[in-house]
Symmetry: C2
């Protein structure tokens, strides 16, 4: 089979001819129809991820059909069933956090940027029938991260006011769609006016260039205090987000691309009874709830680009440039 491989740390990714894997007991072989990219894939190519093992087939997000099943006693699934893959293993028994053995698909285990992948049977979920393959493959990491951040950790309630920072990234765009489906009033930030306009076209009420120092004041004036903030950046701006929260509000963070926050105003945090919560990916239960929520609301992931597998290196480059609005996918 063909697979997009990173041969060594910081080496260029390349499409290689590989042996098609054979599913072991309690595994299935999935023939992939589509995959999608995440910033994680780019970080790994740059050596910026803990415990990198090479060579490895990259890719956490995939959807396809069941090619073969390693467990003869399996009755829930049969070959040619259409599935989307829960993008990790070993979440563990607690809903509150993943176990120490948690592993995201696509390093160290071979991932979805290939013609075939073996995954645990428990990672299979039925493909939503109303979505294309590229749309379905866009769901796993970005969708579950947005769902857990907004709904589980952020406790988003119908009709609340939501702020989503860095709109355009896969998680942020999913969070926008989920919040709008919850009938929230949604505001966004970006460094690009064009992305704010795209968010408004999807239903955001307003947006702010976070590069303007006065954006927070403008946001407070226009939006009023915010119930739930979904942030993937952290850094110096994190402390400013605290000031935008309504008493009792939630600031949920799922990434720290802008580094460590500084000088938090703890007085505001305790006097306003604020919740600063961390979130990463989500449990299998979260994934099931996400798929049900999306189907109930007929949500379609925003696919920005579709590349063939052979153009994998270009797709990775798109992750580096972060110019996209929504998901970058691979058709296989």
């Amino acid at each position: 089979m063909k697979g997009l491989v990173i041969p060594a740390v910081k080496a260029e990714v390349e499409v290689q001819e590989l042996a098609t894997p054979i599913p072991e007991q309690n595994e299935v072989l999935v023939k992939l129809k589509a995959a999608s990219l995440n910033r994680r894939d780019y970080w790994i190519t740059q050596g910026l991820y803990p415990k990198i093992v090479t060579p490895v087939v990259l890719g956490s997000d995939g959807a396809g059909t069941i090619e073969s099943i390693g467990n003869d006693n399996e009755t829930r699934w049969k070959t040619s069933d259409e599935v989307v893959i829960y993008p990790a293993t070993n979440w563990g028994v607690q809903e509150s956090a993943q176990s120490d053995d948690f592993e995201v698909l696509g390093m160290p285990q071979n991932g979805t940027f290939a013609e075939y992948v073996t995954v645990a049977i428990d990672q299979l979920f039925p493909k939503p029938t109303y979505l294309s393959w590229a749309e379905t493959a866009s769901i796993p990491v970005a969708g579950i991260t947005a769902y857990r951040a907004a709904m589980v950790q952020g406790k988003l309630q119908s009709g609340q006011t939501v702020l989503i920072t860095g709109i355009g990234g896969g998680v942020a765009v999913f969070a926008l769609q989920l919040a709008l489906a919850m009938k929230a009033t949604v505001y966004v930030t970006s460094s690009k006016e064009s992305k704010i306009e795209q968010a408004k076209a999807l239903g955001a009420k307003g947006g702010y260039l976070y590069t303007r120092p006065e954006w927070g004041k403008e946001c407070l004036k226009e939006a009023g205090p915010i119930d739930v903030i979904i942030d993937g950046a952290g850094g110096k701006g994190y402390g400013d987000l605290v000031s935008l929260l309504k008493p009792g509000g939630h600031l949920v963070n799922y990434g720290s691309t802008a580094g460590k926050p500084e000088k938090l105003d703890l007085f505001k945090i305790f006097w306003r009874q604020l919740h600063l919560v961390g979130s990463t990916l989500g449990s299998p239960a979260d994934f099931g709830n996400l798929l049900k929520f999306m189907t109930d609301h007929q949500l379609r992931p925003i696919v920005d680009l579709i590349h063939p597998l052979d153009k994998g290196p270009e797709a990775i480059a798109a992750m580096r440039d972060a110019e996209q609005f929504g998901k970058v996918t691979l058709e296989i």
Copy 2:
């Protein structure tokens, strides 16, 4: 009546002869039997509190008997009923946080360091019959702050591991008692070995001098990762507390006597799905739940000192020195 008054900002507190207040519609006049002090009272004498109004009778915590009722239609209460006072007004309709109109008793409204105080009828709760007046008057601010921090914001579950920083203060000692009643394994910190020993005598499993740089490592080794941390200090140590939390754990903060936290490790916060939560005082519902919890577990507040009202200035000085273990009270 006699009352402990702060005549002007930063002036010395003094016992003055004052007119006994008259309850208006929906108010009652309470003849106080005991009151207790909080750090807030000391901060106000130092001008370190927002919007100080003088002259004012200090004091948020009080218990006594109903002397007269301003509302002729009141049927729940009658004169000479024994009561403990919910220490604030205008919490508002949301349990998640107090309203903007929230006011703590004892500034700007005259407080409990006096022979009489008028309060809203809704602030009255029945005195727990098994407690002395000094014990009862020790409950309101410290008890409700500890209850909300541990149970509501910290979501403390039976059998969890708890760390309480700065043991000795009223809130911290209450939190220790509540956590022990929840069958938690409790560890404490202090700058004084003697306070750690007092906490152990009450049931704490262990304690650490937070003045030793290696205390966090020792705590992790002995206690393992912590489910719920209750902190009233903030400052540089706040970031270290984050490292002690179990994945999915809660760090609840109710004060920032040590200043602003610096350089938070956001990666740990999102990867471990941590909850950093602020908490201050509590709602009337929290107060009712606290009193029920205390009665169910027959908890007795730890009273460190009992002064007569005339010795109010000395009692305030005790708040400044923070040498106490438990509550400093006034017998009236």
